[in-house]
């Protein structure tokens, strides 16, 4: 007779749970004008104690809040250059978030992100410098130009395949760069528009109060981008797009059941482009100038490196990647070209070992662990080891 060993199936013993009063009905906050809730609370009865337990099913908002709060509290105590780096980080992170919306949510592989930022930044700066519009209008002109640029760029996206579209947008960026550097009226400044009016008073520019003000603005920009991300991804639009996440067949299926998939994609693209336009206007104001470098391939690759290191298609990936790369690129300027090599090395290692960037490592490890435990179970059971349904996770196999 064989001795049977029983294995304990553990269910997150480390997880903190609230124990609400069982008699009181649950009162949940809703986002205004929507049916969505701020946090994903889940109630369940503990089968052993028969007590009501409440846990937070999605803890990301919690981490976001803690992280952003810590960031905003700590930054004012840093040195001037660190505050600048923090502000640049906010700007880059916003651009990356919006880019992630385009690439991840809308599934349009566009490389014209910086081109949209640049075009709107230039238009906004020009409206201020050459037409004399006061600075608050920059924040209006930027999104408007972004909207137009996005609409124009969105048109061919339904016709072209991913890679071809990516190339087309890269070409657009290059055309913008060449065009701006050719402009004879900007020759004096090498194609840059300088002395743009700003929300930062002239006397404070690049000094302590001005830097903090600039940082505050940049931080608001980041919050705005996060809000847009959240709204798009949790609203109808995001749900629509998620029905066809994985591929061409799904897309065809979505179209077949009456979801106007293309329209949803284009809407996200144009929305993000408008927001990118706002970032462009902000960029021109923050530095009081904008240079053709914003259209350059190097700059684009740097931003791409951020997204890749963090994890393509994830909000936290865009932000974490931006933090790492900005810190290395702008913080370690003393070590010279080595820092770029460092960024490349990080990119290389992360991509070889992590399939979805740094922020995907946790999920990847969990998948790995699940697969392993499934295999072990298969080995120790006599009957071939049927996988438990909850373990039958999608494993990306070729």
């Amino acid at each position: 007779m064989t001795v049977k060993t029983y294995y304990k199936v553990r269910r997150r013993p480390w997880e903190y749970k609230l124990s609400p009063d069982g008699k009181v009905a649950r009162n949940r906050l809703r986002l205004p004008f929507t049916r969505r809730h701020f946090l994903k609370w889940r109630d369940a009865y503990n089968p052993k104690s028969l007590k009501r337990e409440r846990r937070l099913a999605d803890k990301k908002p919690l981490w976001w809040t803690i992280g952003l709060l810590a960031f905003v509290v700590v930054t004012p105590f840093l040195s001037n250059s660190m505050i600048s780096i923090a502000a640049i980080f906010c700007i880059y992170a916003s651009i990356n978030l919006l880019w992630t919306l385009i690439v991840g949510t809308a599934g349009i592989f566009s490389l014209a992100t910086l081109a949209i930022v640049g075009v709107s930044g230039y238009a906004a700066a020009a409206s201020n410098v050459f037409l004399g519009l006061p600075w608050p209008f920059i924040l209006l002109v930027g999104p408007m130009v972004g909207f137009v640029a996005g609409s124009i760029l969105a048109a061919p996206s339904t016709r072209l395949d991913g890679l071809y579209y990516a190339l087309l947008t890269m070409g657009v960026a290059e055309i913008c760069r060449v065009f701006v550097t050719q402009l004879r009226s900007l020759t004096q400044t090498n194609g840059a528009i300088t002395q743009v009016d700003s929300f930062i008073p002239e006397d404070w520019f690049l000094q302590r109060p001005g830097l903090l003000l600039g940082f505050a603005g940049a931080f608001c920009l980041l919050l705005g981008s996060l809000l847009l991300w959240r709204l798009i991804n949790s609203e109808r639009l995001g749900l629509l797009l998620r029905t066809a996440k994985t591929g061409r067949e799904d897309e065809a299926f979505a179209e077949a059941v009456g979801i106007d998939f293309r329209r949803a994609r284009l809407t996200v693209f144009v929305l993000s482009s408008s927001a990118l336009g706002l970032v462009g206007g902000f960029y021109a104001m923050y530095f009081k100038s904008i240079s053709p470098n914003i259209f350059s391939l190097d700059q684009l690759l740097l931003l791409f490196a951020m997204m890749v290191i963090g994890g393509l298609g994830r909000a936290e990936g865009a932000v974490v990647g931006a933090a790492i790369v900005t810190l290395i690129d702008k913080g370690f300027i003393e070590i010279g070209p080595l820092r770029i090599i460092l960024v490349a090395a990080i990119m290389l290692v992360v991509t070889i070992f992590a399939r979805e960037g740094l922020t995907g490592v946790r999920d990847q490890f969990r998948d790995f662990r699940k697969r392993k435990s499934g295999e072990r179970r298969a080995q120790r059971t006599e009957k071939g080891g049927e996988a438990m349904p909850e373990e039958a996770v999608e494993v990306h196999d070729k």
Binding site: D161, Y164, L168, I340, I341, A344, L348, E356
Partner: protein, 308 residues
């Protein structure tokens, strides 16, 4: 349009074609967009410079100032560039293909890895060799011919003939050799190739080395006109990529056709008085965008069947 302009256009086209067919073959057989092609280009240039510099005294001592010496020098330059290119291909194979070729998101991840390699190698070259450009020994010597009232520089003629020769050899290899047949089979259907006993791992290495060697040839040839520098690969990479796409990524004949098209376009835009050199890039990209809008799969689909 006179002969001089045609020569100039062909000169551009042959360099672009060398880069573009490398990118095209690689995409269609191994499924990789090789962003490190520019780094391969730059590395090959430096290798040719370094080796030819190191062997110069030895060659001068053995052959003196004879024709043999320049032939030796030329072959050293070409050979070292080709070998360095092939070596870069092997490195790309080891880093961007082997570890991940059967893992999820392979095509995006290999693109990212090669991109990282490109950035890293270019900066390392800058860091190690410094910013100064380097000149290679003139493979084709100084001078020019007069042909039908047109002056043709040796290096122009050499580049056109050399590049065409290399391309014909590559295409012949693809068409007639057994390895070439395997590569073509893999270009068209990777799973079917596996069922025919064609291993992806075993075939990818020679393909990567071949495309690297092509970039090496392009580097040695282009460095006859301009010089070797860490960022020398950027323009050939961008041009090669765009031309490969214009040719309908994956179609070798499409890439060659697109290279010739762009070569002539650039030459012609350059001499139109109100456009001139400063609108060359502008015109090229506008043209490619227009073509892609009307023919979303480039011009290659007109010529042959490519991998979907």
């Amino acid at each position: 349009m006179d002969l001089g302009l045609i020569i100039y256009a062909l000169n551009l086209a042959s360099i672009y074609a060398l880069m573009a067919i490398g990118i095209s073959i690689l995409w269609s057989s191994v499924g990789m967009i090789n962003m490190a092609h520019g780094a391969t280009f730059a590395t090959s240039g430096y290798a040719a410079w370094f080796v030819s510099g190191a062997l110069k005294p030895a060659i001068a001592a053995t052959f003196g100032k004879t024709v043999m010496a320049s032939v030796m020098m030329a072959s050293v330059v070409m050979l070292s560039a080709v070998l360095a290119g092939a070596f870069c291909g092997a490195v790309i194979y080891a880093l961007a293909f082997l570890p991940i070729h059967d893992k999820p998101n392979y095509s995006v991840r290999s693109l990212i890895i090669t991109l990282a390699l490109n950035i890293g190698v270019v900066q390392s070259l800058l860091w190690y060799f410094g910013p100064r450009n380097r000149g290679l020994p003139k493979v084709f010597g100084f001078g020019r011919w007069e042909l039908l009232d047109t002056k043709i520089r040796y290096d122009q003629a050499g580049t056109i003939v050399g590049a065409s020769l290399v391309m014909i050899l590559t295409l012949a290899w693809l068409r007639y050799s057994r390895r070439g047949l395997e590569v073509r089979a893999m270009m068209q259907n990777a799973e079917g190739a596996a069922y025919s006993g064609i291993s992806r791992q075993a075939t990818a290495l020679p393909v990567l080395m071949l495309t690297g060697a092509l970039a090496g040839v392009a580097a040695a040839l282009l460095s006859q006109t301009i010089f070797v520098s860490p960022t020398a690969g950027v323009i050939p990479l961008v041009k090669g990529l765009t031309i490969a796409l214009l040719g309908g990524l994956g179609s070798v004949s499409g890439a060659v056709a697109a290279a010739i098209l762009i070569g002539f376009l650039e030459a012609i835009v350059g001499v139109i008085p109100f456009l001139g050199q400063r609108y060359v890039m502008f015109a090229t990209f506008s043209f490619i965008i227009l073509v892609l809008i009307f023919r979303p799969r480039g011009i290659g689909g007109l010529l042959d069947n490519t991998r979907e």
